[in-house]
Symmetry: C2
Subunit: 361 residues, 2 copies
């Protein structure tokens, strides 16, 4: 992996990644014409026992691009700079112009609940220069590069003192709120371990302390033995499957078979296989109804809080937006107000549909 670090004129970092060498003559463009001074803060929600992030500067976006303007495409007209330069790069990562979390956050308001600065990072990950493709359609060695990029961001962001959890994700499709169609994801680096991760880690820790083995590794072994009909891909080092306890229709987990704590802990061979598993799942998704399949993809890894996490087993969870070809899965009263997911279909049936989709890498 080749890497070039640049700084935009407004101070934001840009990192370019490539499979081949990068000329060090590349410059970092920036679409902003005004100086942005992001600030944000966190408020403690006493009933839920969790932090809520407020970034009210995000509503004051002064930057109004022309309709055809794509800020994630390489800059071709210097009069209309985008977020990334022209050049032989494959993946670009830059700091979000309007971050929810930022190292610059300061002076949170004093309120009736505890508050703190919204420290951390919000990065945009441009998956490719090509605005018309998708993560799943990228060549395998390009997806493999992305695994390296996510791993590198985990290490670098996780090493920061204000970051306890590095969280890459992709929102794909207008159905999940995306307005920018250029293939891209995001990385949030939180100054605390977020509640969903904390819950998963607590369950994993309890299992590890009781059995001396990883919860997810044990679960994957059971799936392989007793649920082969839900497996979408099984390689030497990675697996993709519809879990027996899927909450979303077509929910898929992608994981290394070994209980590695993060993508950064994976060997080259393991990264190869995770990239392959991920690409296969995404191609099956798009092949199911012969159209782009909207989803939210999230990475769960070990916290970067300075504590040992032998219980953590890095994995990817994919939450599709649809439950049938023309029916969205809505999160309604039971899901959001009680936390109980209700499914109309069985994981075996959804897995069978996805297994039937043939894909070529």
């Amino acid at each position: 992996m080749h890497l070039l670090r640049l700084t935009k004129r407004d101070g934001r970092a840009l990192i370019l990644y490539a499979r081949g060498p990068l000329p060090d003559t590349l410059e970092a463009p920036s679409p902003g014409t005004t100086h942005v001074t992001p600030n944000s803060h966190l408020r403690w929600h006493p009933l839920r026992g969790e932090w809520v992030a407020y970034a009210s500067h995000r509503q004051n976006r002064t930057f109004l691009p022309p309709p055809e303007y794509n800020p994630l495409a390489p800059t071709t007209d210097p009069a209309h700079p985008t977020e990334v330069p022209a050049g032989p790069w494959d993946v670009a990562v830059f700091e979000n112009l309007f971050p929810t979390l930022t190292p610059l956050a300061h002076d949170p308001p004093e309120l009736i609940v505890p508050t703190r600065p919204g420290r951390g990072a919000c990065e945009v990950v441009v998956f490719t220069q090509d605005p018309s493709t998708s993560l799943g359609r990228l060549p395998l060695d390009h997806v493999r590069l992305l695994v390296d990029v996510w791993a590198q961001r985990y290490e670098e962001l996780g090493a920061r003192e204000d970051v306890q959890y590095v969280f890459p994700f992709e929102n794909r499709g207008v159905e999940v709120g995306v307005t920018l169609h250029h293939p891209h994801g995001q990385i949030y680096a939180y100054p605390f371990v977020p509640p969903v991760a904390a819950r998963e880690l607590a369950e994993q820790r309890a299992h590890y302390e009781r059995h001396g083995r990883g919860l997810l590794a044990d679960h994957l072994r059971a799936e392989i033995t007793h649920g082969p009909q839900r497996i979408l891909y099984q390689g030497r080092h990675a697996i993709a499957l519809v879990p027996v306890c899927a909450r979303y229709p077509y929910e898929v987990w992608v994981a290394p078979l070994r209980a590695a704590a993060s993508l950064a802990d994976l060997t080259d061979a393991e990264r190869d296989d995770v990239a392959r598993a991920l690409k296969i799942v995404l191609l099956k998704y798009d092949g199911l109804w012969q159209r782009p399949f909207p989803y939210i993809m999230v990475f769960h890894q070990a916290p970067t809080d300075g504590m040992p996490h032998p219980e953590a087993h890095a994995h990817v969870e994919l939450y599709p937006a649809y439950r049938m070809q023309d029916r969205l899965k809505y999160l309604a009263g039971s899901e959001v107000g009680a936390g109980v997911f209700t499914a109309d279909t069985l994981p075996d049936d959804k897995a069978a549909e996805l297994r039937a989709v043939e894909v070529t890498l």
Copy 2:
């Protein structure tokens, strides 16, 4: 409150409620022509440590009504029976024809994760006979009757051995997945304390043990003293406000000021004031943009698990679907994958918008 218990020919219960007397000559219609034998089961999600409900019979709905048919309107043509009879009732509650949870659930599959029958109840609450109105536009004494109905269902369902948590809610608007526009809500009666409620109760319990007072009551006192600009209504016994830690834009809590464990524990005067607070909020919602305002409304009350719950303080939480007039609030990566809500606006600003909406009861 007058109440009449009926049984549909398919065995499902129907209860009619009214402010005036109900003739005991009313009969319970049922639209179903085939006998339904619902079954469902729960699977344990080991990573999240929570139950997921599967009701695959819900996809085999044999009942296909004509397009203009409204199953929640009173039956006028005996050839096309609906779920409720004609008659002088104000509110009707019946067992969902395709329940996610049912007292009949049996023989869950044996899987690699723990399973159990999907015991409990799923009830439909028809708010009124008038298909063209809404909960907020009902007369105050009608909303007040509904508080009594929710309280009565809490007591009756909560007394069942297979029910540990009674959860009334309303999904309003196509934006949150509603396809039936007749004003109605639902009640799920879970055989366990669901995760969101469990989390809130744990936080309340810790506060109660430390301070000997309720967490929510203390919080409401602080809001009254330091956050009057977020209060939408304050009466002698109830309050409605945008909480300082709102996760959703325009999120509102409605609560009795006293730490009552459930609606059933409220005095008549408290029920009056809760009904008034709720109606005011809903009228403000609809008045904000002069159009029906979609939301999810959920009730959090004490579990009915046979344990004492001095920590529990019943309240209503309203989660709106929009963050601006033409922008939906999407739950994306950070919210669903990490559990961290990110807000672009401050609760004070959203409260100011709602406070500016004038309503008449």
